[in-house]
Symmetry: C2
């Protein structure tokens, strides 16, 4: 029944999704403030149209959240569905094959910023909800909460959750914002990495200098910043911050075996990225490195003369955005303190270093013994024709651990993305086939959940 519903309603469903995508709700850029409000309003309209009893845009300390609910008389269980309506910046724009905010269907894929992360995925939850309401199939309460600051680290969410504990009361949280191992390897995410993110500024001389008159005599803050960054990892690819690994648990052999059994074609992976070699911590496989081990990445760097031409300058300042992916049990607050102390200690006296903690999030582990996890397995099996693998993933959704801390509720990560979807990158896309299967899987989840 759900298959024919999707077929019959697809043009309308896509048009509704596109109406969300067309709003450039980039939370990182202050000039898009009005778009955040527009996007929240559009979600409210859609949720009411789908059959929510109530939907409203609720203020927070930052961008507002959208709350909606459908309460079923006599129901004793409540599912809280979380998604986010904000998206990442789109630069470099010249690499996009079509306008990131004019969604297009080409080659059976949707192409746009947010096609996957997280408008497309949230919309899968939405479409399944619409189907269940219209056909009177819901046997439990459903609540939606959509936030507008996920891509900037959800600075206002924790306070919001604490203020609305009663409203958000639920038995399980359902989130579609992760990806599967591959289109033919459906999987549920059972672990996420945490994150800590910093802005650093290195100041040498108090103004830009002529590199001829001063070069060799005065510390160049770019040279120094590069040296400091280089010292952050050792020859084995391990992070050198003292005590960084104190709370990192070694992977149990059983889990390493499970990971090793995941079909993974390293040559294909390298070809897709066009790299001759991969790189990371010694002693761990590629999948272990990008999902179960911490990492250190420079997400941005700038200083001196940028772009065309050849200015001979010894600049006053150099900047970088640094981040560590963390694993469960690593506390980002503790890591922040360790990092700040260590990074500062790497600086010679010839420069001044300013470190600003931007945001952090804890990792997460979902026990596969939860009834809701089993319901998700059944939903996936129904839609994809095979039992999903349980996989830890490398991304961070800091709010998942916040849900657990503030609301005391576990989350099922029922994500339908693929690595090829290019989220956070130019030409983000989403497969229509998986979009359809996703809706089917979520409907299957709701049905199975009632029977457990």
């Amino acid at each position: 029944m759900i298959k024919s519903y999707i077929r019959d309603n697809e043009p309308r469903l896509l048009e509704n999704l596109f109406s969300l995508i067309r709003i450039p709700s980039i939370s990182a850029l202050p000039e898009h403030h009005d778009d955040m409000l527009k996007c929240a309003d559009r979600w409210k309209e859609l949720l009411l149209a789908a059959g929510a009893d109530r939907a409203e845009v609720m203020p927070s300390d930052g961008n507002p959240l959208v709350y909606a609910e459908k309460l079923i008389p006599g129901a004793d269980k409540t599912i809280l569905i979380y998604g986010h309506y904000d998206v990442m910046p789109v630069e470099p724009l010249e690499l996009w094959k079509s306008d990131p905010f004019k969604p297009e269907v080409r080659d059976e894929h949707i192409w746009a910023r947010g096609a996957d992360d997280d408008k497309g995925q949230s919309f899968i939850q939405y479409a399944a909800f619409e189907f269940l309401v219209k056909h009177n199939l819901l046997r439990h309460n459903v609540k939606f909460i959509l936030e507008g600051e996920e891509e900037i680290g959800s600075p206002s969410l924790e306070t919001f959750l604490a203020q609305h504990r009663e409203l958000l009361k639920s038995d399980i949280i359902l989130v579609s914002d992760t990806s599967m191992l591959a289109a033919d390897l459906p999987s549920l995410t059972t672990g996420l990495r945490g994150i800590a993110y910093w802005d650093v500024e290195v100041t040498g001389p108090n103004h830009d200098l002529h590199s001829g008159h001063f070069g060799g005599a005065v510390a160049n803050p770019i040279n120094v910043l590069c040296e400091m960054i280089a010292k952050m990892t050792d020859a084995d690819g391990r992070i050198t911050i003292p005590h960084f690994y104190d709370d990192v648990e070694e992977l149990p052999d059983a889990e390493r075996k499970m990971i090793a059994s995941i079909p993974f074609d390293e040559e294909k992976y390298k070809r897709a990225l066009d790299v001759e070699e991969l790189r990371g911590e010694k002693g761990y496989s590629t999948i272990e490195r990008n999902s179960c081990r911490p990492s250190f990445d420079v997400c941005g760097i700038w200083g001196g003369h940028i772009g065309e031409g050849s200015k001979t300058v010894l600049p006053s300042k150099a900047y970088a955005k640094l981040s560590c992916r963390l694993v469960p049990h690593q506390d980002y607050n503790k890591i922040n303190e360790l990092f700040a102390q260590y990074f500062q200690s790497l600086a010679p006296k010839s420069v001044k270093v300013k470190i600003t903690f931007s945001h952090g999030g804890h990792g997460y582990v979902c026990p596969i013994s939860l009834p809701a996890y089993k319901a998700a397995e059944q939903g996936f099996e129904q839609a994809f024709g095979k039992r999903p693998l349980a996989a830890r993933r490398g991304g961070s959704i800091p709010i998942i651990s916040v849900f657990e801390k503030v609301l005391g509720v576990k989350t099922i990560l029922m994500g339908f993305g693929l690595e090829s979807n290019a989220i956070h990158s130019p030409n983000e896309n989403f497969s229509l086939d998986i979009f359809r299967k996703g809706i089917e899987a979520v409907v299957g989840f709701h049905e199975a959940y009632d029977q457990l």
Copy 2:
């Protein structure tokens, strides 16, 4: 006589200088192409007005050059005056206290891009020439050549010189484009450093990746670029390129003693730059390091997410502008080969590195036994009341060695800048007092030159 001439004519002289400064002739930025032509035309007008017999804007492979001459019947000597009418970019614009292209006089200084480098300094030569012509005091021929590509490495000058050897025939070349040790320490520049400048591009994966999904598994080109840059110098501040120092001559003890005798207040120098410590090659004094020893500076770096916000990206590319200051006898072509081979060798297989040689220039040494050098000493002594010191400087004017190579003529570096003039930086400025003394010193030079 020259003192009263300057006093009486200063408003007109400054207005003429300002008419040059107001044209934003930034050679590094293609959008200023028309300004280059405007600035060349303005120089031509001014030179004719000052009494040149002939002045014209002459084409080259790049921006045109301005040529002018005043031939004195019966004269057997010719002085060729070189200057440049192009200026450096002005970013970061927000640090300027007044518009870089709206020259202002405040606190007895001219404030503007080009106030010193090199519109202000070239204009000193111009004003002295005007005075000598008007008062019929010239006893030798004077030729002017003003180029529009000095700040981008003079790519067209060598060909131009080779094509116009006869026109540019001269006995000595006079250049005001260097600086003095201090306002109360007049000096003539007897040595310059060479330069080699590169653009490098490091490519990791073929598109920007999500740092959560790939961080730890795939080489981040920014991390790698930082590591490569860090390896370019060792713990003693020496450049690690193999054979880099092969042609670097150790400073003779006599010269080190002379340098050590230059009054230099290191505490004041650090205070002016607001740095707690200086930094550079071990075993050499600050003045030695910034004038007689090679250096390695990153002049620009960029990659990933720049500016506001906190994008969690593992970028595809990272870029840097790298430069080495060289000393006399180091051949920038040889250094370029050594650098390219070494830098490439620093790259792990997980990235691709593209190195583009941007430009280079040889160092220069001026013998203090030249008659023209002695004439310059006399001019300085007349204007500043003390004999100028002979000092090697850290900047590069690659064309000085090109003059010697192509025209076979030595250059006297009669520069009037000060480090506090902030050339290539925001708030470039030039002292009116030194501007006046400079004109007087150049008039003194011309007069002394005829008597030698």
